[in-house]
């Protein structure tokens, strides 16, 4: 093995300029592949994420336009008094979403953070397929200390098992002239039962009001940044009943057994209360938008993959071909074909790993700089340079496998030639 490595290093030390070019090509190939991969995810991400969730069997209710009320500033939610009992009277409705966002603080640590409260269906929808360390609070009984899941953000503030005394500032933007709701502090004892490494603290957007289907992105509005700590708590009706809705928008979920006709019939009953759209239509609109964006950006995927493939083939093939004379001398000196390939693979893998290390360091630094940049365009496009270790490793391995495959072509081409002939030709 040591001999193989020594010979591989000898390959490496010869023609430093050519090796440097190979490393640069590997770095650039991985770079542009990451850009294409992230762009594809950006286009189809939200559709893929939500397509098989309860949103497909739901009605997105958006309420009335705020400007239509008498004083033009407060939302008239009197219709909720009729709408909510109507949803409860229907057997085929699985539930109505509860999505609230409050500011809260940990009384013992004197630190503030965002607190998000969801009902079980919405929580399972938003956190579809995410990774969790510990338990899922929505599967546990709602008893004090109340189970919460924490996203630690930039700090490692909480761990599973911690008990937090939360001071929650409960306020409802959805107030009416007829039924005003005063803001109040709620002190709640909570226990951290789970830690998540993914933040998705979205609230339903209060801005979208129309009978036309918007995309999923239009349904939700963004939450805190990736660096901030967030706590997620199951909705507790007995305490937060007055603050159940952060806006007059809500998702009405239907049971899987509900038919198209059931949903349409219910939709016709609630038309008088405000704007509403089928969740399936929103998903269709999301898909349509994603398809349009893909078509519009197809040239990026097409040309990037084309150029990466050409570069990959060229660099692997010519690099192996460049070394065939040395390999031929090894053959003459009694080296087997298997050993020659092993030396080449050790050399090329080393070269590739060097390129991969440079790529990962460079793209991580670039993402960090762009996401923290004050330049708006850099900030917006920083997602293109995000490479989490798993994705980067998968891309790197795919590239290495393809490079090795193309690098085997010269070995395959010379397999029938006599060793002397090889030395003479080269």
């Amino acid at each position: 093995m040591m001999k193989t490595i020594r010979l591989a290093v000898k390959f490496f030390s010869k023609q430093k300029a050519a090796n440097l070019l190979v490393i640069i090509i590997v770095v650039l190939m991985l770079y542009v592949t990451t850009i294409a991969y992230n762009q594809y995810n950006q286009i189809f991400g939200s559709y893929m994420y939500f397509k098989d969730t309860p949103i497909s069997q739901s009605i997105y209710f958006m309420g009335r336009e705020a400007a239509n009320t008498e004083n033009g500033s407060l939302i008239d939610n009197s219709y909720l008094d009729d709408l909510l009992p109507l949803t409860e009277s229907q057997n085929n409705i699985a539930g109505v979403s509860s999505i609230c966002a409050f500011s809260a603080s940990d009384t013992s640590r004197d630190s503030g953070f965002g607190l998000y409260m969801y009902d079980k269906i919405t929580a399972n929808t938003l956190y579809n397929g995410f990774s969790l360390q510990g338990e899922w609070p929505w599967d546990l009984p709602l008893l004090s200390p109340y189970p919460v899941v924490v996203y630690n953000g930039a700090e490692s503030r909480y761990k599973v098992g911690d008990v937090i005394e939360l001071d929650i500032y409960a306020a409802s933007p959805l107030v009416s002239i007829n039924r005003p709701v005063a803001d109040r502090h709620v002190i709640l004892s909570c226990k951290v039962v789970g830690i998540t490494d993914k933040v998705y603290p979205f609230a339903i957007s209060a801005n979208t009001k129309s009978n036309f289907a918007d995309t999923v992105a239009g349904m939700f509005s963004g939450g805190d940044s990736e660096k901030a700590t967030c706590v997620f708590l199951p909705y507790i009706d007995s305490i937060f009943h007055d603050y159940r809705f952060a806006s007059d928008t809500m998702l009405i979920y239907f049971k899987d057994s509900s038919t198209e006709e059931d949903i349409r019939q219910f939709q016709s009953q609630i038309n008088k209360y405000g704007y509403n759209v089928r969740g399936s239509e929103i998903l269709q609109a999301t898909k349509k938008e994603a398809d349009y964006q893909f078509r519009k950006n197809f040239f990026v995927f097409y040309t990037l993959s084309g150029l990466v493939l050409v570069s990959l083939m060229t660099v692997s093939f010519l690099n192996a071909k460049r070394l065939t004379r040395t390999i031929a001398i090894y053959y003459v000196n009694g080296c087997s074909n298997y050993k020659a390939i092993r030396i080449y693979l050790t050399y090329f893998t080393g070269l590739y790993l060097l390129g991969f290390g440079l790529y990962y360091a460079a793209i991580s630094i670039q993402h960090l700089l762009m996401s923290g940049s004050s330049n708006f365009m850099d900030n917006v496009r920083s997602y293109l340079y995000a490479a989490d270790p798993k994705t980067a490793a998968a891309l790197g391995l795919a590239g290495l496998a393809a490079s090795i495959l193309f690098g085997m072509i010269p070995f395959w081409l010379i397999r029938r030639k006599s060793r002397i002939q090889l030395v003479k030709e080269n």
Partner: protein, 351 residues
């Protein structure tokens, strides 16, 4: 001629290298041109298809005279007039508006538009938002009372105009108080220069100051959006070409050494390599460009209904000069190295 003949012989005697060289060159140039062609095309079309929207608040009615002057401007598309009056129906607020000129496709008109006679006779007809018909249960053909007058619904408009009831502009001028005006000029119909001038002229008619659009500046700003990705992309194409080219040149040093030993001067060797490279590059560039046009024209526009490939002559010359220069820099570096080595050394040197 002799130089060209020797260049040809050099390529002919290294046919497999020539094949690799030309194939990679064409493919790299093709994908690079395709990327930048589509990217530039997207920017050109986004600037080109823009509508110049000029908004102003009105203190009095816009005279028919002024509307005629605005209508005669090159690239004129429409005037959007809004009235001060709003209508409260079933808890929703609607603004009364009117459009002079061509309806945009985004209006999603269903039913019929106002006829010439509707406009001339200031008829009480109306286009309502589709969302309104869903909320109210009213349909095309039904009547709607506004400010004590009955209006007949003759069509519906789509989501982007959810808050408006449309009446003929003559009806709006007669029965309502005009509040605001938006003029839309379509750059697809006229040159960019005419388009920018027409907007300034429209501003003069309305007594509003309009700054002339600088298309070059807008193009540069849009070019910045993919700046980093384009740099990486261009670098990958360039370095790949350099790798192939340096490999080919390295492989040919033995032949060059033979020429040198037979008395060829360094100048002659440079001429042989330069003429061969430039010819190959020029032919490769032309093939790559034709391939790009063909793929976009036949494949993309047929299967994706989307063909934005657009490079102006200036852009093409720019790409040609830049890529050729990089190509020649490698040749120069190689020749410098070759000159420092003795012909015998170069002949004997294998790796």
């Amino acid at each position: 001629m002799k130089t060209l003949f020797l260049a040809f012989r050099m390529e002919w005697s290294n046919r497999s290298q020539f094949f690799i060289h030309v194939s990679v060159l064409i493919l790299v140039l093709y994908f690079t041109l395709q990327y930048f062609g589509a990217y530039y095309g997207t920017i050109y079309s986004s600037i080109g298809s823009q509508i110049y929207e000029l908004s102003a608040s009105l203190t009095s009615s816009v005279s028919n005279d002024k509307l005629r002057q605005i209508e005669s401007l090159p690239g004129f598309q429409s005037v959007f007039l809004t009235a001060a009056e709003t209508a409260e129906i079933d808890g929703h607020t609607y603004q009364v508006a009117s459009i002079v000129g061509q309806l945009s496709s985004s209006m999603q008109l269903d039913g019929s538009d106002f006829s010439e006679s509707d406009i001339a006779s200031e008829k009480c007809v109306m286009l309502v938002p589709y969302a309104y018909t869903l909320q109210s249960g009213k349909n095309i053909g039904d009547s709607l009372t506004l400010n004590g007058t009955d209006y007949q619904i003759i069509g519906t408009v789509g989501e982007s105009l959810n808050g408006y009831f449309f009446v003929p502009y003559t009806t709006l001028s007669k029965s309502f108080t005009p509040l605001g005006i938006q003029i839309a000029l379509d750059s697809n119909k006229i040159s960019q220069e005419q388009y920018a001038d027409a907007a300034v002229k429209a501003g003069e008619i309305l007594g509003v100051s309009i700054e002339k659009r600088d298309f070059d500046q807008e193009f540069s700003a849009l070019l910045q959006t993919r700046k980093m990705e384009s740099i990486f992309y261009f670098s990958l194409g360039t370095i790949s070409l350099l790798f192939v080219y340096s490999y080919i040149l390295f492989q040919r040093q033995k032949r060059l050494a033979i020429y040198s030993l037979h008395g060829s001067t360094f100048k002659r060797l440079t001429a042989i390599l330069l003429s061969g490279s430039v010819i190959i590059f020029c032919v490769g560039f032309v093939i790559a460009y034709i391939l790009g046009r063909a793929v976009n024209g036949f494949v993309f526009s047929h299967f994706f209904d989307y063909d934005t490939f657009a490079l102006k002559w200036g852009d093409l010359v720019f790409f040609f000069v830049i890529t050729l220069s990089i190509y020649l820099v490698v040749l120069f570096l190689y020749l410098r190295r070759f000159r420092r080595t003795s012909a015998i050394g170069a002949y004997r040197r294998k790796e």
